[in-house]
Symmetry: C2
Subunit: 328 residues, 2 copies
């Protein structure tokens, strides 16, 4: 049984992607450092594929050229021969090169992002795959990072990490687009080391998980109030700005309109007595065009299931050790 | 004499430009408000021309399409028939429409910008024109805003306001590109009201100036240390980030290199004993491509000259009163 499973799962590396969005500059800057000095990520002892996600957009310092690369990984889109463009071609290329069945196969994808929202150092998980939940729980146990569980959102799909058997986004902010800040870089490195450490433990069959995983489950997104021509009629209320992860009550301010009037949560959403929502990605620069001023989540504590650990350990078992680097 | 001077100076308006850079979103959002509700800027009682600087770049949420509009106003460039492109055409158009000799002539240009640097609410003046110094001094007396005097910088020229007889930039930050934040909007409005109030006083011959103008005189700019291929080898030191306007001593940290070593001011610039420099525009997102990680200034207190007041009052005398708006 074990032999048969190993045969169907060849040796694999961990894919680390930076710069999936070309104007997020911190992780790509770290990536250059890691490429020059692999010892900086060597503690976990795993073979890594370090990849710049969207090199052409990075060269232009723009999020993307024609289409958001991190919405290109929907199977229907990838397989549609009638749809092309630089980002879709890059998505297909990344799968050919580093996909689970690619030339240098990767079993896990870690996608490093930054945001103008005050998300701090955080994780985004797409759906409820046991491997992802195990990895998120292990990182949360090590570093205490909050987890945004994105699911059931027909408007936003096709995320890169979904095409690998395990993967999540490390999301750090606030930092402006186009700007490198040392603390953002440090947090990115810290979260990545936490993820790699968890994967190394899983590979060794020694993954330790907490009893509970605290998730912020996606409920929906809110757009700014807009005129019929799309012009925003309000902005994020200053009392909400930078309050990502802080529970919102029905009477809390949400938007400030042009006349100076406050729109409150209860004005926008019917209140459920005793139930609070938790906002994330408040005023992310790139989400304006997607009609998202913020997303709302529900904070839930989930019992960690034994099956999650087993699935991640099974997936991580064939991960290749890093080739030892000469130092000095 | 007065009649002759009036004859050479026809009635003129005040030009208010927002969105000279298409990814600076706060002032353009206020501009829409002012266009819909002119009463919001009516206190000064001046006729205003409210203009979106670079509408095509604004529509794309990019700083510019081909060329920085706020470097297109050099006379040699404007008059060079061999040079074109969307920004240069827009610069010429703005002068035809609203230049001092334009169809709707403006005597003063107020150009509203935002920055990812922690400049707070601040003024940028280009060179030492008496009218600009008078206007800056009057706003500083009203609101205490710091003034960055940009001059003698061959690398950076062709600023919009230089083509009007009087003009300055209102620069507010920090705010990410592409993001609207209510406090940035409020500061923009406050500084603009201060400028218009000063111009109204000058028009009425009642301009009151302080005894001293505190300026931060441009000395030069520093780029990040870079590899031969242009790759940055260091980032802004976290102890310097957001410290715009705070004097730097020779031993203060400037950059943090990839190995974690600190580069200090004295490592980059020879120290002049007892003389401090004051940094501005630290880590402005758009200046990376210009090779500017920060600019250094010297803080100086200049006696305000009577001639400044006289020149601004003479320039402001033909400013047209606002057409009264019906309210309600």
């Amino acid at each position: 049984m074990t032999a048969a499973m190993t045969a169907t799962r060849p040796e694999a590396a961990v894919l680390v992607v930076a710069g999936t969005h070309g104007n997020e500059r911190n992780a790509p800057w770290m990536l250059q450092q890691w490429q020059l000095h692999p010892a900086a990520l060597a503690d976990a002892g795993l073979d890594l594929q370090l990849v710049l996600g969207n090199p052409r957009a990075h060269a232009c310092n723009r999020r993307y050229l024609e289409r958001d690369l991190n919405r290109c990984f929907a199977p229907a889109l990838l397989s549609d021969a009638d749809v092309s463009g630089p980002e879709l071609e890059r998505a297909r290329e990344l799968l050919v090169l580093h996909g689970p069945e690619g030339r240098q196969p990767c079993a896990v994808a870690l996608d490093l992002h930054s945001t103008t929202s005050a998300m701090g150092n955080s994780l985004v998980v797409y759906g409820r795959r046991p491997t992802d939940l195990a990895l998120a729980a292990a990182i949360q146990a090590r570093l205490g990072l909050p987890v945004y569980l994105h699911e059931a959102d027909a408007e936003q799909s096709g995320f890169l990490v979904e095409r690998w058997p395990c993967g999540l986004v490390i999301e750090v902010g606030p930092v402006p687009q186009g700007v490198i800040q040392a603390p953002i870089c440090r947090q990115t490195q810290l979260a990545l080391e936490g993820a790699l450490g968890a994967l190394a433990a899983a590979r060794a069959g020694r993954l330790r998980l907490p009893e509970q995983l605290l998730v912020h489950r996606h409920l929906g997104s809110l757009d700014l109030p807009r005129a019929s021509d799309g012009t925003p009629l309000a902005c994020i209320h200053p009392q909400l700005q930078h309050r990502d992860w802080h529970p919102l009550r029905p009477e809390d301010p949400l938007f400030l309109d042009r006349s100076g009037s406050t729109l409150r949560l209860r004005d926008v959403l019917p209140a459920e007595p005793g139930v609070s929502v938790v906002p994330v990605f408040i005023n992310e620069a790139a989400y304006g065009e997607k009609g998202i001023a913020l997303s709302l989540t529900r904070r839930e504590s989930w019992p960690v299931q034994e099956a999650w650990r087993a699935e991640l350990e099974r997936l991580a078992a064939p991960l290749v050790p890093a080739v030892p680097q000469s130092t000095g």
